[in-house]
Symmetry: D2
Subunit: 337 residues, 4 copies
């Protein structure tokens, strides 16, 4: 019989509970051995729903349990780094939600612990597992349409998150563009320099905290390709997620998914559905797939598909974008460190 | 706390096991109390996967169990009618896969039992629960684009089923067009007359058993609208499922869903993904939704969304189409009975 | 220097004036030598606009002019046949607007004259020259997607013509479906049997004259393929012209053209442009192309792309459809003659 | 009777001959009074084709002709400025192909002459007259989807022009991006600052002359909106011309036009047509419309839709982009002058 990987989920809030459900129901190779949340009743509710018998408030209780091979960390960002340190020291493999940390020293400390203890470490860049974005990657990587020349990403949220969220998120380049930085690296390769412009155009409360709601970031890739990302916190027609990689012999584009396939035509024209509003709907399958692959890598001792280096690079790019925006000049990634 | 409906699944083959999984994992209001299959090991495997403790080979064992309120029947078509009779007599509500039976007397017997014992009876016309097809229905039913004039359905399977399947399926009008007859009734209303043409153009083995692989059926609706269904057993580009209701002030169309949203453009043109090949992928969400609604109807004592009358009507239309095809003339539905 | 073909246009109403303009401005191989209309002032206005010096009221004046090699007939349908007879007897090549005539005896008389005098004779089935419909034809004819199985045509006018027009048009199967019958023959081949249903659903005044505003015609082709045409006189979203040929190894579809390529997305969804409303806009390029090819066939003595047989066949199919509709039974084309 | 505007075309090469044909055949309010080219035989051929009687080699011959009210200049760019000076001094209205000149002093001299002599002056930014791009403008200008936040333009040529062309064209930002700068101003308003990156990725011969084949330009608009243009000299799938204006309450997008509307589906997926390859095909209708409007402005003494200020601004932006690229820093438009 196939071996199951015993895994615990630490942090069972919005994202963690999705992972817990996926582990319990949709990833046969996994065994959800425990759930943990400092709000014990939240963890208990998830456990009840999924028939998980072990529920703890303090993740330290799980560290000594030899039967638990892997841990999925979905707590608040500011706790990721020290939990990673502890879990790595306990010799367990780690799937960590992004970003690893907002402080680069914390990121480096966590990655050093991972390396020292030789555990696997995957970062939750879920979009790499989207069937369409993955397909673009595969077309480009195959070389069948030549070398990459221009990467274009439009990534726009349906509505701004509460400004309190943005207060601790690291701001737009770190809470939103970070996904696109990772996607850009996934599709085209390393980025050497960025130039960022931004403004507050739809959510004035963001100006008061020094954040943005609209931005455009130009990219220079190490391989000579150019790129551009645009972001907005408010696309009223839904969660707009488009990407194209224009190459010397063609282009590969990932278009949006719609809520449904219906078109209503009348005197006014052809009306089709808006986009899904909720990122968890749009990328639901990715959350399963990224963890499914992590579990298989643990089970079969293979390298993980998205590692610590990727997690760090996206944070560095976020800082480079902020520096570029603030100083209104192109910033080399090497300036950040 | 919300009441759960205890339900048993009889028949845990391809379709039944999907229903069992959905009941166990995705329909919180349901409690999958038992699974049953004459191939006990098949039922046992499903039970193991889902943590169901009661597994039986003979469905009669379930009839006396008062805790079981409802039964989902997903056995071979030729067993539906007598199981319905027994289950109805036991006072349990029924969700029955389509068709109810191929013999109209059997259908009528089953429906009489349902009526006599006052149980709920839902037929598994899953497509009515597709978000896009449902949306077309809602647009048309709202009257916002006027009265229905022309219904057009293209429904084509990716590849012919084994000819053995077709040998007992009732043939193309009963194994394939039956879905479209139900959809036509759902969208536009009662059908009064059909005219069917057909041929064997792609799968010559079907000719030997007197069946078809290609057909077109014209429809006259009671409300004066006209309709047409076309079917093929072999659409190499995938499971082609399109529908439009053309009305006096507009049209509502449900387009196909694609495997992904990627477009690759090159000197040859723009290439986008083919369609899903497997009907269970295309309509996966419908299988959950139809049973979810059934469970709620049982729990809240509401009328079911697709009933015995609908199940019967689609079978009658299948026979009318065969008669029309064989006699090469329009056939009134009233000729079948 | 390349030889020019001297051609006269007889009938300079809506359609004839378009042909005259195309001949004068967009078909370098043609020389528009004369225009003719029984309303002399109408012909004169066209002549003034285009710098044509010869203007006549009676087409007989042109018959003796040896410099005129070809004639384009765009008069009222009921005059086509006798003009064809006269022009053919004068030894001039003929491009004749469709239909040749509504009376089959007239059609046959005209075609006999054409044959007797050995002149070229092209019928104005313009849609065969549409770049998209032609491309579908070429894909299908190449065999690259296998044998044709199902032809589907949706052809719907934006709004009903005045009922007076329909009074002398031969009715819906002869004024509207006739185009689709020709297209069906162009795409798939000879038709052996038709079955037509119809109704008056949007323009009640049509009922009073025994005509229809909505119809569906099923087709059996000689090669075993099946087909269906649907027509409406009122598609409020524009001139709806779609066609697909479903084959054993794929499908070729011609989608609609839109007024523009703009999409406006808002909370309500994605709104794109309606279709062109006017058939002359939709098929503008075809009117040039069909006559351009005719001129070249005359100049280079090649066979014309759409001949008298095609013109006759479409009329016969129109009568077969009417007979089928009235007797509510499938009608073999051979029943009409 | 409506007054006709007598106009002469100076320069009857590729672009000038198109304008001459449009004036002669498709703009009823115009009278093409003369054609002029230093290659007299080229002008003569156009005159012969169009029935124009006056043909001159030297444009000075036209200046004293009081019957000529307007002149269309389609000569080489380096001759525009002095011809404008002379024609303006002669009191004739001017339609001038873009760019006015590559030297800003020449531009300013020409515009000063125009102002001094009080003649109308329109620059040939044809894309503003495209039905789709115009429709986007109208949607945005109406305010119905809120304030502009992000402008995105992808503009890619099918294949690089001969490098000799680029040697005198001013380079990529002045021969290609110049169109997009004008479009950006048309859609969103004045631009204050640009940042340009570029590379040679597909046509190495461009590196040798210090030009680019790929670029991305970020824009800051005076109204706070952000923008980005990407360009390539080689899009093998055709002439790629897409634009979107993302606003606070929606987005308006102009999609590409295709060569035809045919889709061929097979096992490999859905293949649709590539884009038109030739810019004159893509924008054919614009060339008519821009001159039609110019003629009407002359006839009715109205202000022209695209004036000298627009022509100058696009050139300035081209220089700003070059400066930004060369110094790798954002450049304010005010730095150019």
């Amino acid at each position: 019989m196939t071996r199951h990987v015993n895994i615990a989920v630490i942090g069972t809030g919005r994202m963690g509970s999705v992972h817990a459900r996926n582990l319990a129901r949709q990833i046969p190779a996994a065994n959800l051995a425990a759930v943990c949340d400092i709000r014990l009743e939240v963890a208990q509710a998830v456990a009840d729903e999924l028939g998980v018998t072990r529920v703890v408030r303090d993740y330290h209780e799980l560290l000594a349990d030899k039967s638990i091979e892997a841990v999925l960390i979905a707590t608040n960002t500011d706790t990721h780094a020290f939990i990673v340190n502890d879990v790595a020291a306990a010799g367990k493999h780690i799937f960590c939600e992004k970003p690893i940390a907002l402080d680069l020293a914390d990121v480096d400390g966590a990655l050093a612990a991972v390396e020292k203890h030789g555990v696997k470490f995957q970062v939750g860049f879920n979009r790499r597992f989207d069937k369409s974005l993955k397909r673009v990657h595969d077309i480009v990587a195959s070389g069948e349409i030549g070398r990459p020349c221009i990467l274009r990403i439009a990534a726009r949220d349906p509505e701004p998150p509460p400004v309190e969220y943005a207060r601790t998120s690291g701001g737009m380049f770190l809470d939103m563009t970070i996904h696109d930085f990772d996607m850009a690296r996934f599709q085209v390769g390393e980025i050497e320099e960025v130039y960022a412009i931004g403004n507050v155009l739809v959510a004035p409360e963001y100006a008061a905290i020094g954040d943005l709601d609209t931005n455009i970031v130009s990219l220079k890739f190490a391989n000579g390709a150019l790129g551009v990302i645009d972001n907005s916190r408010q696309a009223v027609y839904g969660y707009d997620q488009r990407l194209e990689v224009f190459c010397s012999n063609g282009v590969a584009l990932a278009e949006n998914e719609s809520e449904n396939t219906v078109i209503k035509a009348s005197k006014d024209g052809y009306l089709s559905a808006r986009l899904p509003y909720f990122f968890m709907d749009r990328y639901a399958a990715c959350y399963v797939e990224e963890v499914r692959q992590f579990i298989e890598c643990v089970r079969d001792d293979k390298p993980v598909p998205v590692g610590g280096k990727d997690g760090r690079a996206a944070v560095v790019l976020g800082y480079a974008a902020w520096k570029s925006y603030r100083e209104n000049r192109p910033v080399k990634v090497s300036e950040i460190g």
